[in-house]
């Protein structure tokens, strides 16, 4: 087995173990509540009696706790079943899978665009370090990073949506409209999502800018960069060919570590713009005290983040052989 396959197998196995632990935690937590195993089920007036009986039977809630655990794990891995949402009276997994595409669209689009802009600007200010432009961008980045992301979204919504009428005030699409062509639908969604995306990009770009700048400046103090200068290479070449490549490791690590944060940011922005994604769902779950839905959100967002992080790490290990040797 090559070093790479070995590395990948080990990574993927450890991620599955982590996910399994998270799943176990979501099994344990509701059972630690006062009243034990299914007090939260029985006491909830939202759940009709016949559905309660079905749930008790399906998850073996009248059986010993060990047996319940195995049923819980089996249900999840065979059908993705995590029980019924109290507030919507639909399977948790179904409710979440309907919301997930919105959140994933926001997260992936904004992270990719932010990474591109942030890395380019980071390179630019590293090239022009200590110039007025450098100070300007670093200060703006610091300022943006001091704001609560959802609040920046609200301010943009008030200014651009409410006062300038350039964006709708809520929703991810116009309600109750039938579209003649798929393009009309896409255009409508884009019209609704552009401002939330701009908010997320404004929030994420500074991180990439600062990390790229600092990573590049770190490498610039290495001896081989000095040697490149001594050979008389143009500074732009040194920066792009000699300094940027090794800094990519730090940038990709950031990309992996920041995904969970970006997901949280997107969830908050969804609440601001009333986009029917995971964040909106979480808000509803808190408001309605819908614990199964809340637990489901944790399980599914963890699964998504772990998968995305692992994909980034695979990319990293293919690009950078040093990673495999760790």
């Amino acid at each position: 087995m090559s070093k790479l396959t070995h590395f990948l197998l080990r990574k993927i196995t450890s991620r599955i173990v982590v996910f399994y632990v998270i799943l176990t935690i979501t099994f344990v937590i509701p059972r630690m509540l006062p009243g034990g195993a299914f007090a939260y089920l029985i006491n909830n007036p939202n759940v009709p009696p016949n559905m309660r009986d079905v749930l008790i039977k399906q998850f073996g809630l009248d059986k010993p706790i060990i047996e319940q655990y195995f049923i819980f794990i089996k249900e999840f891995f065979t059908t993705g079943n995590l029980g019924i949402s109290f507030s919507r009276l639909q399977p948790v997994s179904q409710v979440i899978l309907e919301a997930l595409p919105w959140t994933l669209t926001l997260v992936t689009t904004s992270v990719v665009i932010s990474a591109i802009i942030g890395i380019l600007l980071g390179l630019l200010v590293a090239y022009k370090r200590a110039s007025k432009m450098d100070v300007f961008f670093v200060s703006v980045a610091m300022f943006l990073r001091s704001m609560p992301g959802f609040w920046l979204g609200m301010v943009l919504l008030i200014v651009i949506g409410f006062y300038m009428h350039l964006a709708p005030l809520f929703g991810a699409y116009t309600y109750g409209v039938t579209y003649a062509t798929p393009f009309e639908y896409i255009a409508d969604v884009l019209y609704h999502l552009w401002l939330p995306l701009v908010s997320l990009i404004l929030l994420t770009t500074p991180t990439y800018l600062v990390i790229t700048r600092n990573a590049v400046l770190d490498v610039m103090s290495e001896d081989y960069i000095m040697a490149a200068y001594a050979r008389g290479l143009p500074e732009r070449n040194i920066l792009l060919k000699h300094a940027f490549k090794p800094s990519c490791a730090a940038i990709l690590t950031l990309l992996a570590m920041d995904l969970g944060v970006s997901l949280g940011g997107a969830m908050l922005i969804e609440r601001v713009f009333s986009i029917p994604g995971i964040g909106r769902l979480t808000y509803d779950a808190i408001y309605m005290q819908d614990y199964p839905l809340l637990l489901g959100v944790v399980v599914y967002t963890s699964a998504v983040t772990l998968t995305l992080v692992t994909l980034v790490e695979i990319l990293q290990s293919v690009l950078d052989p040093r990673v495999r040797l760790e």
Partner: protein, 279 residues
């Protein structure tokens, strides 16, 4: 050491700027009764009044003075931010110390827990913890601290590993100092500057986390906080009715507080880690 850090903060342009920014929220938190014109809990006028000389930021949905809410909100926002950051740094320091000092299996286990904490989506986990602990700002502090320590643990571990075998530690060991004594009496004091910097830098993050949790409805309904004000503004339709002041003001307070703390934190960090100064 303490005197040195204070001296440093006062001698750096950026951190003086930070102190100036922090002065407003600190004053609000310390003596709200001297600044706020009204009791933030009392209905003092008609609801939804726009800003005027009588009510600087208008009134909210139940006729409370928003400016007074803002002033009283400083205390809980700063308290939660500071307590959560200090707890997170304490947890991270202990974990980092143990992992770095003992090495071996202890390090393996603690480091993999730390790594996992970096992988999970933090916000949903904080919400889950706060939801199951129940309402109350103490639980919000716990929920934020429980998921904010991994960065500190990683940093402290790296530092401890570089200190572990320096002569003065070996000397302490040679005269029979126990592990705990070495860790807490000899190694830990070396880390104080670093710990100070990272606590200051983390307060801002914790304040933003508190406002985020409040914004999603996890806030303590018995306390006024900046995040809580934004939550009620949002829920009462402040955006769709154009009451921008109700939303903008608490956000500006959060931003200047976090910015002020970052400016001070970076100044201390630059001092602790001279390599950063060149940038």
């Amino acid at each position: 050491m303490k005197a040195k850090i204070i001296q440093l903060i006062l001698s750096n342009e950026k951190s003086i700027m930070g102190l100036i920014l922090l002065a407003v929220p600190l004053a609000m938190a310390l003596v709200p009764q001297l600044i706020a014109p009204y009791d933030p809990w009392k209905t003092v006028d008609r609801p939804f009044l726009p800003p005027s000389s009588k009510h600087l930021l208008g009134t909210n949905d139940i006729g409370q003075d928003i400016f007074s809410e803002l002033v009283y909100g400083a205390r809980i926002s700063l308290l939660v931010g500071f307590a959560a950051a200090a707890s997170a740094v304490a947890i991270g320091t202990v974990i980092g110390l143990i992992a770095g000092y003992y090495g071996g299996i202890a390090e393996e286990v603690l480091s993999s827990i730390t790594d996992v904490m970096f992988l999970i989506p933090v916000l949903p986990f904080m919400i889950l913890m706060a939801a199951f602990l129940g309402q109350g700002y103490q639980n919000i502090i716990l929920a934020i601290a429980a998921f904010s320590w991994p960065g500190v643990a990683r940093m402290v571990k790296a530092q401890v590993k570089s200190f572990k075998n320096v002569p003065f530690i070996e000397a302490a060991r040679a005269i029979g100092a126990g592990d705990l004594r070495i860790m807490f009496k000899h190694i830990l004091p070396q880390l104080y500057p670093l710990i100070t910097a990272s606590t200051i830098l983390r307060i801002g993050g914790a304040i933003i986390a508190e406002s985020s949790l409040s914004f999603l409805g996890m806030g303590d309904p018995t306390q006024k906080s900046w995040g809580g004000i934004i939550y009620w503004a949002m829920n009462t339709g402040a955006i769709t009715s154009g009451m921008w002041w109700w939303i903008v003001a608490p956000g500006i307070m959060i931003t200047i507080t976090v910015l002020g703390l970052s400016l001070i934190g970076y100044a201390v960090e630059e001092y602790v880690n001279p390599r950063l100064r060149k940038r």
